[in-house]
Amino acid sequence: MSYAIGDTLPPFVVDSVSPAAMREWAVFLADPNPIHLDVEVVKAKGLGDRVINQGPINVAYLINMLLAAFPGGRIESMEARFLDNVYDGDQVVASGRVTAVEEGRIACDISLDVTGRGTVNAGTATVLI
């Protein structure tokens, strides 16, 4: 398969971010921060009225998009900046665009957007193909 600068990568869509997944990730991350588990804590802190997805899950969505876009490829490096929160029930779309093509290596801009609210993560990645 060939790639060119400007190619858009197939999006990875999560139709509804799941609070059940947040509970699993509290265990994976060994981090029981209640803003991911208890909506009353989120309200008390003035952070909204839905539990907040753990940041690394959002990075995992970006990784899923990259691995699906480049079957058999391997991520060499990536950077993700956290611009806003993702909440329980949000629809999120991970997407990317090719910015450089070298022998065996593709560079991309990547982003995660919440439908109706805009970009919540943005960054770059290089994938060995």
Partner: protein
């Protein structure tokens, strides 16, 4: 004198070691659950989800999240926020793989932002090593620590 110069200095913790003492093992069962929780099936070739770069380093560094905040004289209850995360992979992570963590705090910089007021920007670096010492992945994480008491 600038506004920042009127503030107390941030904690002097650059160089603080975050070396882990425990071995972190990526369980195939947990990897499968993690993959499915993000909407994908686990790989069939024995590679783990690459997000284990973050999980493995966080879980097996020499501090809990609350402990890392405390090193920076910050109460985790005050709400640390992720600023960015960078990863550089030398090789894939593998299910059943066993890894050690090394790392250190790179910097804590005090800033004033229009949105958050006074905040400390913590940057720390962690590495996952094979048990023979080879580095598999290196990550730099940036956290924002709002200093409400200094607003």
């Amino acid at each position: 004198m600038s506004e920042l110069a009127e503030l107390p200095p941030p904690p002097d913790v650059a160089g603080f070691k975050l070396d882990g003492t425990e071995i972190f093992t990526i369980s195939a069962v947990e990897n499968a659950a993690l993959c499915r929780s993000t909407g994908v099936e686990p790989a069939l070739d024995g590679t783990a989800h690459p997000i284990y770069y973050y999980i493995g380093t966080q879980v097996a560094m020499g501090q809990t999240v609350a402990g890392l905040c405390a090193v920076c004289d910050f109460n985790v209850e005050d709400g640390p926020m992720m600023g960015s995360s960078t990863a550089r992979f030398a090789a894939p992570l593998r299910t059943g793989g066993q890894y050690r963590v090394s790392g250190e705090i790179l910097s804590v910089v005090r800033k004033r932002s229009r949105k958050l007021g006074v905040m400390d920007v913590l940057t720390y670096r962690l590495r996952l090593h094979e048990l023979d010492g080879r580095t598999v992945v290196e990550t730099d994480n940036v956290w924002v620590l709002p200093r409400k008491e200094l607003v």
